[in-house]
């Protein structure tokens, strides 16, 4: 049988993204990661919220769900719980995942639900044409911060570490080969895997966003130990450079296995036929 190639995952729908958008790099990385993993397209579901990045499912010939703003994670969890055998990838933007939908992040993490959460972080609201996002840098002028930004930016890696996410990585859309590798590792990770993918917005931030990230980006050294929580906190706190790679990984029972244990406990009582459930309410004279 012929194996799947990256081309097999292209839906043929033309992306709405601007020429030069960082999201193209991540989309290509996804195609390649799926091909390398030889995932049957019908066994994959890509779930997104709303925003530029969230148009991504439509461009991939797998199952997809372009849902509503901020809700990629709960929709993705519903899919995964209903069909545990499906490879579920949730895709969100920084506004999607860190503003309106931020409340879902810690809960997906504490469930350690076995899905891959890719945050396409461009530091701006691109779809709505250039308002400040939770990761907009403090010196940045945007349409809603004409005099400069009032709030401090959120550091998604620190959030993920604080929430106890069991796999945390950072990639960059201009480094597709590395992004492919991170996605593959995330999909293979048995539990909740988070990747912050830096994905510049050439239209509302500007082409220089690529150059700035490029000038600061460094790959984590080969001897970096991602199982060290201490090292991971150090990396998350660094200023003046952006480390790329797997920042942290640990092992914890994924949600479906925890549910299986609950199921076994629940079934200890014996008969679970529907008739027996009804009989709980039966009174005889």
């Amino acid at each position: 049988m012929r194996g799947y190639t990256a081309k097999d995952y292209r839906s043929g729908v033309k992306p709405v993204w601007c020429p030069g958008c960082g999201d193209y790099g991540i989309l290509n990385a996804l195609y390649q990661a799926f091909a390398q993993l030889q995932l049957p397209p019908e066994e994959v579901a890509i779930i997104s919220g709303i925003g530029c990045s969230s148009r991504l499912p439509g461009y991939v010939k797998t199952y997809g769900f372009n849902s509503i703003h901020g809700r990629a994670l709960p929709v993705a969890q519903g899919v995964k719980l209903a069909r545990p055998e499906t490879t579920v990838v949730a895709v969100a933007g920084d506004g999607d995942g860190l503003a309106i939908g931020a409340g879902h992040f810690p809960h997906a993490a504490r469930r350690n639900i076995d899905l891959t959460y890719i945050m396409l972080d461009n530091g701006i609201y691109g779809m709505t044409k250039g308002q400040a996002s939770p990761t907009t840098g403090s010196d940045q002028r945007t349409k809603t911060t004409p005099y400069g930004i009032v709030e401090d930016p959120i550091n998604p890696i620190k959030l993920a570490l604080g929430y106890g996410v069991t796999f945390i990585a950072r990639g960059f859309s201009a480094q597709v080969k590395q992004a492919v590798d991170l996605i593959i590792q995330a999909i293979r990770h048995p539990g909740f895997a988070f990747i912050q993918m830096l994905s510049p917005c050439v239209t509302f931030v500007g082409r220089e966003q690529f150059d700035i990230i490029r000038s600061l980006a460094v790959d984590l050294p080969p001897d970096y130990d991602p199982t060290s929580l201490e090292r991971a906190w150090e990396i998350s706190n660094e200023t003046g450079r952006i480390s790329l790679g797997v920042i942290y990984r640990t092992e914890s029972l994924p949600f479906d296995q925890r549910l299986r244990r609950i199921g076994e406990l629940a079934k200890r009582g014996g008969n679970h036929h529907f008739d027996a459930t009804v009989r709980q309410y039966m009174v005889a004279s």
Partner: protein, 464 residues
């Protein structure tokens, strides 16, 4: 009655006075004592033989007490109904019915007075390999349900007014992505926190009209505990068949009251346990997930089905599921989604509950749990010679307009009964022509209606 003295005399303690009273009432009402004796023995078995004996002795003494006072007027029974019964609340009935209908995914967030449904699911779903999730909020609850439905599971949530407000955006998503979901709203006093532990019927307009955009949905409303089982089974049937959100409007008065009911014929309900329409082999060639059809229903796939890949979306899309902002396609797809409601009206049981005289000139229209007092008021007044008819729609959207209009056209006056400040009246006015005389019988809620309130309202128009 000297319950306390009797208890002290036969059992040596005041503790068993309630059991003396139980024996008295059992005899007074002519109930067979066997079941009580068995129950007492079981209930106190853990406390030792002497306690069981003391309670049984007290029960017998209570029975004897009733015999001694036999001269007092006793209720007359035509016959004792010895058939087995079920004792359960509306929330339990909804849970039980949902399990029968095949629910295998429940996500919810605690809220009074709906939490018992969630707790029931937490206990029962793992026994049948179903999945229960306590979500971080109602938005997550409903969007998880939507995701699970996309994954092929029969999925539901249960909430009350404030939770429904948070879910309303996602209701639109289920409509747009054409996914079967069931939402139970156990209404409470509102708005805002309101009176969480008391009843109301004030989420009506929110459920029938609420939401942004053109949002077809189905709304059902059970009238009592038995009906709650029927309605929730029907809700899953309609959701699966028509691939849209179905809301079930219960309330605190129905959800948390215990009723003794006759066993439900679940076998007869079996026809309504269906799975959504799946595409044939031919339909999977160049599969059109949102194919425009006569009924509005298009065959649906799920992850794992080869050749059935598509992108579900809240964004407007063509028949293939591709995003579009084309006005013509939007019009066609909107019509397709609304067509499902026309098909429901044409093909499905209209779920109307009737009572009373066919030639009555005064009618009563109500909905939901208020049906109980209305039925009692109509029955009492008809025994006094009043000619009356009552009508209770159990499907509010789409409302069975034709038979309801025919009912109203025969009337000179109608009494509209509701526990809200006029939402049902507003809704009926938007769908039907009401008779010249309309008497509104409405309160904000908290306390359910008494039969007397309904009788007074009916008498006002009946003599006018």
């Amino acid at each position: 009655m000297p319950f306390l003295q009797t208890a002290k005399r036969v059992a040596g303690s005041a503790l068993t006075k309630n059991i003396v009273a139980l024996g008295f009432l059992a005899t007074w009402f002519g109930l067979p004592p066997g079941g009580f004796r068995k129950e007492i023995a079981e209930r106190f078995a853990g406390k030792g033989e002497s306690v069981v004996a003391a309670n049984l002795k007290s029960f017998e003494a209570g029975m004897a007490l009733a015999e001694t006072h036999a001269s007092r007027a006793r209720p007359q029974w035509n016959g004792v109904d010895n058939a087995p019964k079920l004792i359960l609340t509306g929330n339990e009935a909804i849970s039980l019915g949902a399990l029968f209908a095949g629910v295998r995914f429940f996500a919810g967030y605690p809220i009074t007075p709906a939490s018992e449904i969630m707790e029931w699911m937490a206990r029962e779903l793992p026994k049948v390999d179903g999945v229960f999730v306590q979500a971080e909020d109602e938005i997550a609850a409903l969007t998880m349900v939507i995701g699970a439905s996309f994954g092929g599971a029969k999925a539901m949530t249960a909430t009350s007014g404030p939770g429904l407000s948070l879910m309303t955006e996602a209701m639109g998503l289920a409509t747009m992505a054409e996914l079967p979901i069931v939402i139970v709203d156990v209404q409470r006093g509102g708005p805002s926190t309101g009176i969480p532990t008391k009843t109301s019927q004030a989420d009506l307009l929110h459920t029938v009209f609420g939401g942004h955009g053109n949002l077809p949905r189905i709304v059902l409303a059970p009238v009592d505990v038995t009906d709650a089982i029927h309605i929730i089974v029907h809700a899953f049937y309609l959701a699966e068949k028509y691939q849209l959100p179905v809301l079930v409007l219960s309330d605190q008065f129905l959800g948390q009251r215990l009723e003794v009911i006759r066993p439900v014929d679940f076998q007869a309900l079996g026809d309504q346990v269906i799975d959504r329409l799946r595409p044939s082999e031919e339909e999977l060639v160049a599969y059109r997930r949102f194919k425009i059809t006569e009924t509005g229903i298009s065959p649906i796939t799920m992850p794992g089905m080869k050749g059935g890949m598509y992108t579900a979306a809240g964004i407007e899309h063509d028949e293939m599921g591709r995003p579009t902002s084309d006005a013509d396609i939007h019009e066609k797809m909107t019509r397709k989604r609304w067509k499902k409601l026309q098909t429901v009206e044409r093909q499905e049981d209209d779920l109307l509950w009737h009572d009373g005289d066919a030639d009555a000139r005064v009618g009563i229209v109500t909905w939901g749990s208020t049906k109980g007092v209305v039925e009692e008021a109509v029955s009492r007044l008809r025994r006094q010679g009043f000619k009356l008819a009552a009508l209770v729609p159990r499907r509010l959207v789409p409302l069975p307009v034709a038979p309801m209009q025919a009912f109203l056209d025969r009337l000179q006056a109608v009494v509209i009964v509701e526990l809200s400040t006029g939402q049902f009246h507003t809704f009926l006015n938007s769908q039907l022509r009401l008779p010249d005389t309309v008497r509104l019988c409405q309160r904000a809620g908290a306390a359910p209606f008494t039969v007397g309130e309904i009788i007074d309202a009916i008498k006002e128009v009946h003599t006018a």
